[in-house]
Symmetry: C2
Subunit: 360 residues, 2 copies
């Protein structure tokens, strides 16, 4: 604590993102990036936008981008909010919609940035335990909470709830905001965007970092009725008028227009996920059924921390969350088939070593 | 007020940015953009970075950019904080360094986003009047404030304080954070960056939107001793881990490396500012002496609001701040010489009309 700091700073417990090592020839399966590059049309649009017009401020409302997203999801452009990554969008959501007298509720296992934002904005919260299968139980959310948020598919489990289940939750809690963080929804889960027309309390967030291969460009979205979007715009215009640069707006717009590329990439990732799940199960892992671009797996014998360390020695990086209910699992991003095979081969070798069959 | 909003939202008074009209053939002198494009090396670096690596998260610490900036300003890279525009950097500064039991102090005329951030983060503040010449009076800051912030050159007046004056302020207030917002410093004022080594309470902020012609790319910087930068990093890592996209990092790094382009552009803007000041004075305007890329001018006879409206009819956009001490002034961005001449010719015609010499 420094005498120059606002007192808040000393109380913060910052989020720890997955590492971004600069090593070469790494198999990087730790931050759920897409193994395939972004749409060539997005890259072309960025290059075309890299001109003298960069001297001018960007469109503060990202109008063209919102129009492209609106056409894709069949909503109105004014039902869309955009920000510099879904992390920024979510941070503004915590400020604008989730701070009430009664506590916010979220699962005890979900995106680990949620409690950090609660700390930053002074939002009180309550954690609702997942069930024994590490699934979200819709009926476990208390009747007296001030708001609800969770990821669907959930992170880091990969489990997805059906849209009808979430609709049941919306009906049970009509008077509080319910935020569904759909960062991974394009890999096989049902989006709740079609529900926003009927549920004024529903806000849905998306990212272009996963299914659209643009983690390096930082774009996030929120979908909801005007009342909710209005709150986000008021906070945004009290924070940073121009959150999305010209290149990000141009690239993201083109990425939304290239539906074929999007469909091909996500189909490949989904197919690889199923193959990876099979090969991990053959090695004896318990693998949760995933609808995301990662799998959450534990071995009944070998400690996850040991496996993570041994993989790292082979230049393969996976993620582990050192909390009571998750510490025994590895969260493994779905890479290309070649990367998944390299991971499986490495694990096979490590398990054999650990069982004493070979030299370490 | 909606039942779904956090109560804070209803209390916000969002910042109103200068408009970004999409009209063609506009002379846009309202948001202090640079009339010259960014460094060709910056554009080339952006194009080179628009590749498959955009599928990966950016460096969360913007290491190469901070190293380039450090080399330019002869400080250490770890004395630099970067963000998605200086507005974002300043917003984090308000959270991290300016919220204390005693109120923050800033001039009654300065960057109008400061009171907005106070509202967003619950920072109490006190406005310190400029003197009769609309200059900041160092001795007017009260001894019992919790922190101090102002722009130097100040906005929208364009007045600059000498570095020695600011050093006197730092010595008078050694126990509180003092933030100098140097958005416009490269157009002729003295930077206080050389003072950070000696003053642990000094934080300096910069932007690449003005002198480096990259308003469309959104990059801001802060300079200070580790203790202050540490507070900003803690808040940033509790808000958004990856604030700067890959393209912005690449373009900004190259812009800092192209010193010649920077020197040429700012010299041209400074020369045009002096010519613009002369021609406005010849038309009878009072023009404050500016060290920024804008001038602040009032006419003793013609109302600023009328002049602004008449200019707009001629597709020339300038800015006016409708507050008691500033409402009589126009803030005019320094454009190219051709743009400045078009403005002066338009004003000459408008003044003649207003004086009854010709038809409206």
């Amino acid at each position: 604590m420094s005498r120059f700091w606002s007192p808040l700073v000393d109380t913060l417990k910052p989020y720890v993102a997955g590492e971004q090592p600069q090593m070469r020839d790494l198999v990087k399966l730790n931050t759920n990036e897409n193994p395939y590059g972004p749409s060539p049309r997005a890259l072309a649009a960025i290059k075309a936008a890299a001109d003298d017009a960069l001297r001018l401020y960007p469109d503060p409302m990202s109008t063209k981008l919102r129009e492209a997203v609106a056409a894709h999801h069949r909503v109105k452009a004014d039902q869309i909010f955009v920000g510099n990554s879904s992390d920024e969008v979510l941070a503004l959501v915590f400020q604008a919609l989730l701070k009430h007298e009664r506590p916010l509720a979220f699962p005890d296992v979900t995106y680990s940035f949620y409690p950090v934002w609660c700390g930053l904005y002074g939002v009180s919260y309550r954690e609702v335990p997942l069930d024994g299968e590490l699934r979200i139980d819709i009926d476990a959310f208390p009747g007296d909470c001030g708001a609800i948020i969770f990821a669907n598919p959930n992170a880091p489990t990969g489990h997805a709830l059906a849209r009808a289940e979430i609709e049941r939750l919306l009906k049970a809690h009509p008077d509080i905001p319910v935020v569904i963080d759909e960062a991974y929804v394009d890999f096989g889960a049902e989006s709740t965007i079609p529900l926003i027309a009927a549920y004024p309390n529903l806000l849905v967030t998306h990212t272009l970092s996963k299914s659209r291969s643009l983690a390096g460009l930082r774009i996030g979205l929120a979908f909801g009725q005007r009342d909710l979007i209005d709150a986000l715009e008021r906070v945004k215009d009290s924070f940073n008028s121009y959150p999305l640069d010209r290149l990000a707006q141009a690239g993201a717009t083109a990425a939304y227009e290239d539906v074929d590329w999007f469909e091909q990439c996500r189909a490949k990732v989904i197919a690889s996920r199923e193959r990876l799940t099979d090969s991990l199960r053959k090695l004896g892992f318990d693998v949760l059924p995933s609808k995301a671009n990662f799998v959450f797996a534990r071995h009944p014998v070998h400690a996850a921390a040991d496996l993570q360390r041994a993989l790292r020695e082979k230049a393969i990086i996976v993620r582990r969350f050192d909390k009571p209910r998750t510490k025994d699992f590895l969260r493994i991003t779905v890479g290309t088939d070649a990367e998944c095979e390299r991971l499986a081969a490495a694990l096979k070798e490590i398990l054999r070593w650990n069982e004493g069959a070979g030299p370490r």
